[in-house]
Symmetry: C2
Subunit: 749 residues, 2 copies
């Protein structure tokens, strides 16, 4: 971190001198207010950008629409008195929504002033600012503040940081319109109380390596640029103590893995990417020598592309960890980031399907370029170019990671997410070695995400609901082993945050995709070893997933493996008893208290099959059972007095023992056509599953698919790529190289 | 019916003579086989039609696509041996689906033969027919037959009738390709056993006035035309006894109300319309003098248009009575009917949005015309021209009916269905005075429809599930009053079938829409009187619904009014106790046994409010409560061991007393934007509800909406349109004419 501070000090000096020359004539007048006044605008765009954008606003439909949408929304307020209410309500309530509307209105009106030169837009912004300049110095903590990090304008500091970012950008745009006295009034009244609050009372929060701190730094830094307060910019970059241990640069270095994986997961990548991009873009103008976009090998660029790789066909972000299902890449954050990426990193055709779905661009150089490319390209694919991909987690890429296995293309895409990351900070869930399956744009084996109705006052003021912690974050809400009805790490965040799983080996892309990962920390005396195979068989248009999940312990445990399926149960191969007139919960804590036990099934056959229908496609889970096995059909909704949880089903396989292996085959098969009222391939093709060997050295699984044998051999201790293995299987000698071998009908796939 | 027989006898003679002349040269050779051989094809189209269609097949994209889809599906089978298996499986199983595929293949291949002249298509059809000619004489009742009316090729006779219709059309198309011996072989082997079965063993079924009988008549009639067997045509038209008491003509007269309302409801209109249209179209060629399409003032045309009026924005048929939610007007039945309607009744621009969504046409004159109109019209609206509309039920239009109140247009459409029909034959539900609400294409206050997975073998062979009768058909599954936990008519179909409700008065269209209806039969000693107001207020972009539901009895009862809402509960104004760890059912029978009691609320205020969110719009139900009132939040799924029911919530208001009135205001308000994370108008605007008067003469309701008063006055005994009334309301004299008056903020709407 020393290097960073040093560099910044040098560049600060350099910039300072440059500005001194440029602003010679205005300098003297301003010097009494601040040390130096830069040319404005300097943050969201520069004077020359504005000239360029202005010249292009009528060039194509997308930019015309984008401009006119913004103009319509702002023009509504021209000549009206905009309320700046005393803060009172939580999210969803009037004062919260009004302040949110206000900062967007200020930003948009400021952009219109710059692009049209019409003083009415600047005047609108100024009048709102004057009200904030009067209000902000009077504020104490918000009356609805419930978190450790309270806000003043809003119930939480995070929203105040949002305000600061947009208010800063808005101010920068009308800077030259304001008199010196007005500038001082706004800087001292509107901005300074917020900046002082962040860097003073909330200094621990401001110093976090966390998306909240990124917002706070972006806010303080942009406000600094806008008000010519270099000290604020320095605090934003290097922390309140300016030692580089916190601040924006430390967050770039600390929050992303080398591939740009953001540890909180894709839903929060979406959220945090906005302050990263907005502040970095501003720094490109204000301190270009910092080259923040190139930091850590363009990690911010990777972060955006890799966040897009972590979306479903509908643009929805994969919702592991805290995540809401209706968030897609058409949100403001991604529109802004994609447009900035275009401006900073140049043309990238993979962005165009995203821009088409966003159906708007920002009024920026990047937005102009993308609107032109959309107008020019006649054959933009419908979908982002999804592919199989893996990311490491942790700042140095050594804290586990996530693999996304894919098969099929366009609307036929199948994606399986295998998660062996670190915890993911305060939004992480206790879901080591979890899997999720998406197919043809639908969630099939799902992650609950978070229990929250953001922006809806009736639902706990739009905040995270208690059921997020009591259910959604617990292990049983996922698709991974839960031992003894206790969540991983006993659901203690600090404990989980200290650990991560590890990948043992993987091959992605091609007909045989395999990822094997190990967790040794979730339970004190249990090792969890899961290997996922996604196989493209010549006999099936859809990929077959084989899941070998080994729980290894010296002592006896109860192991639950839930499949949070979405769909309608079609059939089970095992008999079960339904609880038809009286229902009780599956347990008392660790999320089990939120599950109604709808049915309980008994072992009657080593092959247990479960088939469900989701959006006209059949899915079957065929599993190897033993006489310790029980099956549970459950549904969320117990202990949910406020009706906060969706009622979703799960199929839970329970086994007992010391070492236990869950071997499951997940098939995507056939379909149902409601127009012709016909079904095709409605049944699983799995006829038999045998675990021929399963020990410290090897697992060997034999699966009969219709009349053909699928043989999977995996190494459980030696994962070297060039290691040669010879095994005796069913009396025959089988040789292979590397950590696994897959044979179908006697041949390699 | 005498007239009909007479007419038919005359026309038979007439036709006979005409044919005699036309077919003079072929007559002698054929006379030994059948009495007379018409020119073929004569059913689905004529030789001259074929020439016309042929000349147009390349004219536009829609017809090209439609032709090529059919050609691709048939070409796959050219040169292959098509299996005609011995019947074994229920719906969804192999033999069922194969025979279904076969009749479609035969029909399509026969069309291709006619349109291309390529003998391979005729040969394919012939080979399949030869197999059926061998199979059909050997068949006894299907091994999976479970209904009173078993089939032979299929598990139920209905499907055999489907086969007969398409096989008949297919045969007609290749008639001239066949040798005399082949014709006899097929007529005697493939067709005769089916016709004899229908008119013999199944003569009671064949004689029904019911959609099954329509299919059977169409099958027998078309087979008759195709095989030159006039006797079969006569049976089809006038019943096996040819007395006109049953048969196709009696079904036209008996199944439709004068406006073309089909008593089983829109879902079954969709299904029955196909044999009506196919047979009628064939009769247009074969017996044009019958003018079947003009019968009962073009009732078949009205039936189609009115079925389309009974669809949701997504084309889904309103699902009252037995109905599956995924059936829309893109199904084959409606493609065929729409195309035939175009051919028979001429151009109708309202059909074009439907054709665009169907995205295919039949290879017919109507199909050609529609494809040309779609190609020519650049501004086809996205939706069918929905409007407020009312239908009577019963052959003479005197058995109640249904009103559809609408407000808004295009994707903003709101539709409320108020049902006061007769029972609806075997697919009717016990839901007198039920309402359903759709808004912006979503079901808001819903009808369960039927419990069935048609075409899915795992689910009871695709048949109606037992839960259709035990839950979906019961009164509590609807949105109407249930007294003493017993369904209307004690859920006895014959009892319900003998009665209907009656409309008292109505006004549709405009800012004030009102429908009032009375049922005096559902319960022996209770009158049910419901009046629905759909009001377009100047203060609200969306309509406001007021529901005054009076239960009148001399004795004490428990009355339940359920609202089967779809969405997420946001808030209730009343306190409730949740059953968080143990759930029991709401009752033991009449559908109550399928409801889990999730929560029970108590009266604490005369105004009880319930708000939920559906697809980003808020909905509130505000009701007048008294101290007898209890509130229940329930969910389907109890006593459902096979997981056949969807888990859907309901809000049930329970009151006790002799006379009781449920006064509810249903508001559509505000919205939630997940991109901006903001809510607008998330709360109900109803501040107070007062029932100022409620007796045999008048009900007067006063509703405070924000700061404005809405006053509704309705007559409860005198419904004359020109009757003048004077009432004292709150000390003021109010005068109005007709059965109701609505004042908002002191003024008429």
């Amino acid at each position: 971190m020393k290097d960073v501070s040093l560099l910044s000090f040098q560049s600060f000096n350099h910039i300072y001198k440059m500005r001194l020359l440029k602003n010679y004539f205005t300098l003297i007048g301003l010097f009494t207010v601040f040390s130096v006044s830069a040319q404005h605008p300097i943050a969201y765009c520069t004077k020359s950008d504005i000239g360029f954008i202005k010249s292009k606003l009528g060039d194509n439909e997308l930019i015309k629409k984008s401009f006119s949408d913004i103009k319509t929304s702002v023009d509504f307020w021209i000549g009206k008195d905009v309320d700046v209410p005393f803060p009172k309500d939580p999210a969803g309530g009037y004062t919260h929504e009004k302040h949110k509307d206000n900062y967007n209105l200020m930003f948009n009106s400021s952009m219109l002033y710059q692009l049209t030169g019409d003083a009415k837009y600047a005047e609108l912004v100024k009048k709102i600012f004057i009200k904030y300049a009067a209000l902000n110095p009077t504020l104490k903590n918000h009356p609805e503040a419930k978190s450790k990090f309270p806000g003043r304008i809003f119930h939480q500091a995070l929203n105040d940081a949002n305000w600061l970012v947009y208010a800063g950008l808005a101010y920068d745009g009308i800077h030259d319109y304001l008199t010196l006295a007005e500038r001082k009034q706004i800087a001292d009244g509107a901005f300074k109380p917020e900046v002082d609050f962040f860097s003073g009372e909330l200094k621990d929060w401001f110093a976090l390596i966390h998306n909240h701190a990124v917002w706070a730094c972006a806010g303080v830094g942009i406000a600094g640029m806008a008000t010519d307060n270099e000290q604020w910019v320095q605090m934003a970059l290097y922390g309140a103590k300016k030692d580089g241990k916190s601040g924006f640069i430390a967050n770039i270095d600390g929050l992303f893995s080398p591939e740009g994986f953001y540890t909180e997961g894709p839903y929060y990548t979406r959220y945090s990417i906005l302050p990263f991009y907005l502040f970095a873009k501003s720094l490109e103008h204000y301190k270009p020598e910092l080259k923040v976009f190139n930091r850590k090998n363009n990690v911010m660029q990777k972060s955006l592309i890799n966040a897009l790789q972590q979306t479903n066909l509908d643009g929805g972000f994969y919702c592991y960890n805290d995540a809401l299902k209706d968030k897609t890449f058409i949100t403001n954050e991604l529109v802004e980031a994609v447009d900035i990426a275009r401006e900073v990193f140049g043309e990238d055709k993979s962005l165009l399907p995203v821009v088409v779905q966003q159906n708007r661009v920002t009024l920026s150089k990047g937005g102009i370029s993308l609107s032109e490319e959309v107008a020019r390209n006649k054959n933009i694919p419908r979908y982002f170019p999804y592919k199989s991909i893996e990311f490491t987690d942790g700042a140095n890429g050594d804290e586990g990671g996530v693999s996304i296995l894919r098969s099929g293309s366009a609307e036929k895409l199948t994606s399986l997410i295998f998660k062996y990351t670190g915890h993911g900070l305060s939004h992480g869930h206790f879901d080591k070695l979890n899997i999720n399956l998406y197919d043809e744009g639908n969630e099939i084996i799902s992650d609950y995400g978070a229990a929250r109705f953001v922006g809806i006052e009736q639902k706990f003021g739009g905040r995270y609901l208690p059921e997020t912690k009591s259910y959604a974050a617990q292990s049983i809400a996922h698709n991974t082993i839960v031992a003894d009805e206790k969540s991983h790490f006993n659901a203690v965040e600090d404990e989980s945050q200290a650990h991560h799983s590890n990948k043992l080996f993987s091959t992605i892309g091609g007909n045989v995709q395999v990822v094997s990962a190990l967790d040794t920390n979730a339970y004190a005396d249990i090792k969890l070893h899961r290997t996922i195979y996604m196989l493209q068989l010549p006999t099936n248009p859809k990929p077959l997933t084989v899941d070998i999940f080994r729980a290894l312990s010296a002592t006896q445990h109860q192991y639950d493996l839930p499949f949070q399926y979405l769909g309608t149960l079609m059939s089970t191969s095992f008999p079960y008893k339904s609880f038809t007139t009286n229902q009780t919960t599956m347990g008392k804590k660790f999320g089990y208290q939120h599950l109604w036990k709808e049915a309980e099934g008994k072992y009657d056959n080593p092959l247990s099959q479960f088939t469900f229908l989701n959006n006209k496609t059949y899915y079957s889970i065929s599993s190897l059972a033993d006489d310790s096995t029980r099956f549970y059909l459950t549904r969320t909704g117990a202990n949910d007095p406020n009706f906060n949880l969706r009622r979703e089903p799960a199929y839970i396989i329970r086994k007992k023992g010391d070492n236990q292996t869950f071997l499951s085959v997940i098939e995507i098969h056939g379909g149902y056509n409601s127009v012709t009222e016909t079904s095709t391939n409605a049944y699983s093709s799995v006829k038999k599953i045998t675990l021929l060997r399963n020990d410290d050295e090897y697992s060997v699984a034999e699966i009969m698919l219709a009349d053909k044998l699928l043989l999977l051999i995996q190494c459980n201790s030696n994962y070297k790529a060039n290691e040669k293995h010879t095994l005796n299987i069913n009396g025959k000698s089988v040789q292979f190289t590397g950590p696994y071998s897959v044979l179908f009908d006697g041949k390699a796939l």
